[in-house]
């Protein structure tokens, strides 16, 4: 597909179709290699005996502090989760700070303390880093990049690509959707809306480890971040020889999120999460996995939300609350408040 844009738009960073196109048509095209072509959350590297998972992520959230977390907690959880959903055990992180001149020291300290705490909870070590300070106005307060390395068992390598997904597998998510995106939006307070919404930001490596330790056949995992559950599902099924069926009445949306989405015309399926993993698990193991995840603080609301089907190959369908059906498509850009 030829590039039709002269300039980069905000939509290119939103995790939807535009982002996807930018990655495919520019980055992957020129950096091309077989590892990159997998386009998974973490790159899986073979280094003799072991497999390593390696990932990176940058964090540019506004405001820096919001109910349920802050940019620091996000930076640690985001990278830990990218590693964990690949089936890897996260071990080491690097951290890069780009700081706007004028940022208060106490804010920075607060972020750093949050990062240290989150890393400790996740059992990962921050082993290297970098700091840059730019002129006032050249970045929005604070940007953080983290990259991470984890160790991966050979048998878990197919998890990030989903190559072992089979018909009848169940789709599980560990709780409610849309909390992070709406919490941040409400915290920005630009729209005269106040909502009681807390980000679900959390490291999921412990939760995921408990699922893997059951010995269940987990064929796929991905964290539902930018672009939400809808983006994970629509990406997963694209060009595949299976379809996906989701049941809307199994999706949990907290009241605050529901209200704000209704007001602004947002679809919770496409709103960002930072503490949710989508798992595809063999039918016979699904209930067992759900039971185990429910024991974990980040999984108390775990449920089976759908399944892999033989029909509607290549597309994902949602059975709506009232028994109708619609396709879950990739969002084209960012969701915007609408009047219509």
């Amino acid at each position: 597909m030829k590039n039709k844009f002269d300039t980069i738009l905000l939509g290119h960073g939103s995790g939807g179709q535009l982002s996807h196109d930018l990655i495919t048509d520019l980055f992957t095209k020129h950096f091309d290699n077989d590892i990159l072509r997998q386009q998974s959350d973490s790159a899986i590297l073979e280094t003799g005996k072991n497999h390593l998972a390696y990932t990176t992520d940058s964090f540019v959230v506004d405001p820096l502090f919001f109910p349920g977390g802050d940019i620091g907690k996000l930076a640690i959880a985001g990278t830990v989760n990218d590693l964990a959903v690949s089936g890897a055990c996260p071990l080491y992180l690097s951290v890069g700070f780009i700081i706007e001149e004028g940022l208060s020291f106490s804010d920075l300290e607060r972020v750093v303390l949050s990062m240290a705490e989150e890393a400790r909870k996740a059992g990962v070590r921050i082993v290297t880093g970098d700091t840059k300070v730019v002129d006032r106005g050249k970045c929005d307060k604070l940007f953080i990049n983290t990259s991470g390395i984890g160790i991966l068992d050979k048998q878990h390598v197919p998890i990030s690509s989903g190559s072992n997904i089979k018909i009848g597998d169940k789709i599980i998510i560990n709780g409610s959707i849309g909390d992070h995106g709406m919490a941040v939006m409400a915290a920005r307070n630009e729209l005269n809306i106040s909502a009681d919404i807390t980000s679900d930001c959390a490291c999921l490596n412990g939760l995921i480890k408990s699922a893997m330790e059951t010995g269940a056949q987990i064929s796929f995992m991905r964290d539902a971040t930018r672009g939400g559950l809808g983006t994970v599902i629509s990406e997963l099924v694209k060009s595949k020889n299976y379809g996906i069926r989701l049941m809307e009445d199994r999706l949990k949306v907290n009241d605050g999120v529901k209200g704000m989405c209704e007001l602004l015309g947002f679809d919770p399926i496409y709103v960002a999460n930072e503490g949710k993993v989508v798992m595809v698990v063999a039918e016979e193991d699904a209930d067992r996995v759900v039971a185990v995840l429910k024991q974990h603080p980040s999984g108390t609301q775990t449920s089976i939300i759908g399944e892999i089907t033989n029909d509607h190959q290549g597309s994902a369908w949602l059975e709506t609350l009232v028994g109708g059906k619609r396709i879950i498509e990739m969002l084209s850009g960012q969701q915007l408040p609408r009047i219509c």
Binding site: L10, L191, I327, L336, C340
Partner: protein, 359 residues
């Protein structure tokens, strides 16, 4: 959520679907003329619940879709002026003009801000006295009163740097023109929130002159199914009339205060609708009394010549004459992430909705 959840009852929807199936005896086409209805129908998967005989088609109910390309070109031109801040509803930001769109201009450095309300735009104007703040007023009778309220407020508070660029339109001329042009429909699902403002009187011509019914519908799945059932019953009994399904929100006389404010600030003018051409008295122009806040009067700008892309049949689609799949550009050159015509831009434009639920 009260007054929302009760109208999403799966069992009631199912029962209504059965009633519709039992009542309908021949193929019928029902048109909805409200972007909100298009969204709800798509969101809840309503077409899958209806018997084959009932076909739902989408009319020109999406203000974004019917807004002329020239309007966007002029908004783009305004955004390029150094002393201008554009404030707009999110719906308009990705609509393609002849060579650019507001989000591209924003990426190029123009000051374009998405707001939820004209009141937010007034705040921007108050905080930026040295800039001209232009609010892009799109929308039908549901939204136009808030623009009217905003203009009155601007004048009373002396916010002289605030301007409205009106693309506001009214529904009935479009509804009548469609039938005049021979578009085949058997009834209208009437716009729910437009009607909370206007009341039911504006639709009386439709059954009287054209013998077609209008059922003013709410937006929840129960509302839509009930409205469809009421239309089917009207058709089977050969009794076309204007009925209100959405009785909890629509009074027969509408919102009189809002109507007064509309009349205070706006007057009718002929307006160009994408797909329908020029319709008499279908647009709202700011009256002379408030001309100091009319962007078209106060701010001159050079607008690039109009270029309509070849192959785009948004017009025919908006009139229900063609379906999105009839368009050569659909899904190939014209997609939601890179739209050519406005029908593909907003989620409730016919092409975007079709792309989402029919592929």
């Amino acid at each position: 959520m009260k007054y929302i959840d009760e109208y999403r009852d799966k069992e009631i929807v199912r029962l209504l679907a059965e009633e519709i199936k039992k009542t309908v005896t021949k193929p019928i086409r029902l048109m909805e003329v409200c972007g909100g209805h298009t969204m709800s129908i798509q969101k809840y998967g309503i077409p899958y619940l209806l018997p084959e005989e009932v076909e739902l088609i989408s009319g020109p109910g999406c203000p974004v879709c019917v807004t002329s390309r020239t309007y966007i070109d002029r908004a783009v031109a305004y955004s390029r002026l150094d002393d201008v801040i554009i404030t707009t509803y999110g719906d308009l930001i990705r609509v393609p003009g002849s060579s650019s769109s507001l989000d591209r201009e924003k990426a190029n450095g123009a000051d374009v801000r998405i707001v939820y309300s004209i009141l937010d735009a007034l705040m921007v104007a108050k905080k930026n006295r040295r800039k001209k703040v232009i609010f892009l007023g799109i929308g039908f009778e549901t939204t136009a009163p808030s623009s009217a309220a905003g203009i009155i407020k601007a004048q009373m508070a002396g916010i002289t740097n605030f301007y409205l660029y009106s693309a506001h339109k009214v529904m009935p001329p479009a509804m009548e023109t469609l039938i005049d042009e021979g578009v085949q429909i058997d009834g209208y699902i009437g716009p729910g929130h437009v009607s909370t403002i206007t009341g039911k009187g504006i639709y009386l011509n439709i059954p009287e002159k054209y013998g077609l019914g209008v059922v003013i519908s709410g937006f929840e799945p129960v509302d839509l199914m009930q409205s469809i059932l009421m239309l089917v019953q009207q058709i089977e009994n050969k009794e076309p009339k204007v009925e209100i399904e959405y009785t909890r929100a629509v009074k027969p006389e509408g919102n009189v205060k809002a109507q007064e404010m509309l009349d205070e600030v706006f007057e009718y003018r002929d307006d160009w609708w994408r797909g329908l051409g020029v319709l008499e008295n279908s647009g709202l122009k700011i009256r002379d009394k408030y001309a100091m806040h009319d962007a078209e009067v106060q701010i001159s700008v050079d607008v690039e010549p109009l270029i309509e892309p070849k192959g785009c049949i948004c017009g025919d689609i908006l009139r229900g004459v063609s379906k999105p799949k009839d368009c050569k550009l659909f899904g190939t050159v014209c997609t939601p992430s890179d739209p050519v015509g406005s029908c593909m831009v907003s989620n409730e434009g016919s092409c975007a909705a079709y792309y989402l639920y029919n592929r």
